[in-house]
Subunit: 268 residues, 2 copies
C-alpha cells in the first residue's frame, strides 16, 4: 500500500485500540479528491463533517488546525484521495460518551482508484444489491463510521465490469449506490432519493443539485421505486471522486446516455 | 485507565489505522465476565462470535488460538471484564472486503463496572430512549461494531440513578436496553423481543431462555409494544456482566419485583 497516514497531525500508522472509532464506529469521515495539490470541494466536505460532529455531539474539533493539516497533506499530490476520519476519541469501555474527550483526526492519502477510464464517458453497468439498508432518521445523511451495510452490499459482486450496486431500504425504495448517490431524469426533471431516513448526503450530490439550479433544471428530492429508475430517461451516479458516471445499464435494462448528465458534467 | 490490551495476542495498545474495524466498523465483539480466573459462558460467547463471523464473511479466525489467549488473559483476574473485538483486518480504502485478509484480535481487560450493588437485589429504574433503532435483518442479532445508535441512546441521560434506557424501533416496538436484553412476565409467561430485525442476541438472554425451559416456565420471543411492558407483572434486564436486574420503575410506572426473575436468578 502506498498510503501515507497522519494521526492527530503526526505521520504515523497506528491508533489507540481504545479509540471509540474502533470500539463503536463512533465517528465520521470524508473522502476527498485531490487534484494538482488542491482539495476539490473542501468547503462542502468540512461543512458536512462539522454538521455531522454537531449531530453526534462530537465536540472540540479545531477546524482551523484540521484544515491547515489537510491543505499541507495535499500540497505535493498531483492526483490522489485524501480520506479524513474524525472520531470521538479515546474512552473507557461502555457506550456512554465520556464527559470530556479529545477527538482523533486520522488522515490518509491513497492512490486514485483504478476505475476504467471509459466509465465517465461511455457510462457504467450497475446491479441491484440484495443487502437492505436500515432506516434511521438520526443517522441519515451522515457519512458516519457505521458502514457494515455498505461493506456487505459491496461484497455481493466481484465482476470488475459492474461499476456499482444500487441499494434499497427495507420497503424497496432506491437509496443510492454503495459509494455513490443516484439521480434519474424524467422529462428533464432531475430526481434523487431523499436522505432523511437512509443514505448519505453526498458532497457531489449537493454540487449537482446546485448546478441544476444554476442551469434552470428542475430538481427534486423524493422517494424512488425501482420502477421509477427503470422508466427513467437517464440515470447517473455521483461521488466526490468520480464526479458523474452516466449509467448505461442496470442489470438487463439499458439506458442511452443523456443530455442532462452531459450538461451538468460541463457545468461542474 | 487500568486496562490491559492485547492485539493479535501481544500486549500492546495500538492498532493499525488501516484496520477495517476502525474504517468501517467491519467486525464484531464480545463482552465477557471473568470471575475467579474463569470466563463465564465462554462457549456461548465463542459460538455467537463465530456465527457472526460466518454471517459477515470474516474468515480465518483461529478458534483454538483465540480461546487459549482468552483463557490466559483471564487466569489471574479475580473479577473483571474481558472484551474481545474481531475485525476483518487490514485492507485498502474501499468498502469491498479484500480477497484475503487476516482478522485482527483485540482483547482488553477492564475493571468490573461500578454499578450500584443494590440494583441486582432491589431492582433498577429505567427510562425510554428517544433514539430509534434502525431495522436490518442482515445485521440483526449480531454484536457488531456499528454501535452509533447505542452510543446516541446512552448519551441521552446522565442521571446515575437511571440504570438503563429502553430502545424502540421505528415502529415503536421495544427492542431492549442500550446494553441489555429485556424480558417481561405476563401471567407467568416469559416474553422477550425477537432479535431478527433489530437488537442483539445476548448470551445472558440465551442462558435465561434455556433456564426457563429447564424450570418449565413457558417462554416466547415476540413483538412487544410499550403497552405490553407497562401492563407486565414483572420486567427484568439481562446481560453477561449484570446477569439479571429486576426493573422496579420505568419512568412513572413502578413494578414489584417478581417471583419469576427470582426463580431464574437462583437457577443461573
Amino acid at each position: 500500500m502506498s498510503d501515507r497516514i497522519w494521526v492527530d497531525g503526526r505521520e504515523q500508522t497506528m491508533v489507540s485500540a481504545r479509540d471509540r472509532g474502533l470500539q463503536y464506529g463512533d465517528g465520521l469521515f470524508e473522502t476527498m479528491a485531490v487534484i494538482d495539490g488542491q482539495i476539490r470541494h473542501l468547503r462542502y466536505h468540512l461543512e458536512r463533517l462539522l454538521s455531522g460532529c454537531a449531530r453526534l455531539g462530537i465536540e472540540g474539533v479545531d477546524q482551523a488546525q484540521m484544515t491547515q493539516e489537510l491543505v499541507e497533506q495535499s500540497r505535493a499530490v498531483t492526483r490522489g484521495v485524501l480520506k479524513l476520519i474524525i472520531t470521538r476519541g479515546i474512552g473507557a469501555r461502555g457506550y456512554r460518551p465520556p464527559a470530556t474527550s479529545e477527538p482523533t483526526r486520522i488522515a490518509s492519502l491513497s492512490d486514485w482508484p483504478n476505475h476504467s477510464p471509459e466509465w465517465a464517458a461511455a457510462g457504467v453497468a450497475v446491479r441491484y444489491c440484495r443487502t437492505p439498508l436500515g432506516e434511521n432518521p438520526i443517522l441519515a445523511g451522515l457519512k458516519h463510521l457505521n458502514r457494515l451495510e455498505q461493506v456487505l452490499a459491496r461484497s455481493e459482486w466481484s465482476d470488475p465490469t459492474i461499476a456499482e450496486g444500487l441499494t434499497l431500504d427495507g420497503a424497496g425504495h432506491i437509496i443510492g449506490g454503495t459509494m455513490t448517490n443516484v439521480f434519474i431524469v424524467q422529462r428533464r426533471v432531475l430526481l434523487t432519493p431523499r436522505v432523511d431516513r437512509c443514505g448519505v448526503a453526498g458532497v457531489m450530490r449537493r454540487t449537482v443539485l446546485e448546478a441544476a439550479q444554476r442551469l434552470g433544471i428542475e430538481a427534486r428530492e423524493c422517494t424512488l421505486a425501482r420502477t421509477d429508475i427503470e422508466s427513467a430517461d437517464e440515470v447517473f451516479l455521483t461521488n466526490a471522486l468520480i464526479g458523474i458516471w452516466p449509467v448505461r445499464a442496470i442489470e438487463r435494462r439499458s439506458f442511452s446516455l443523456g443530455a442532462v448528465a452531459r450538461e451538468l458534467l460541463q457545468a461542474l
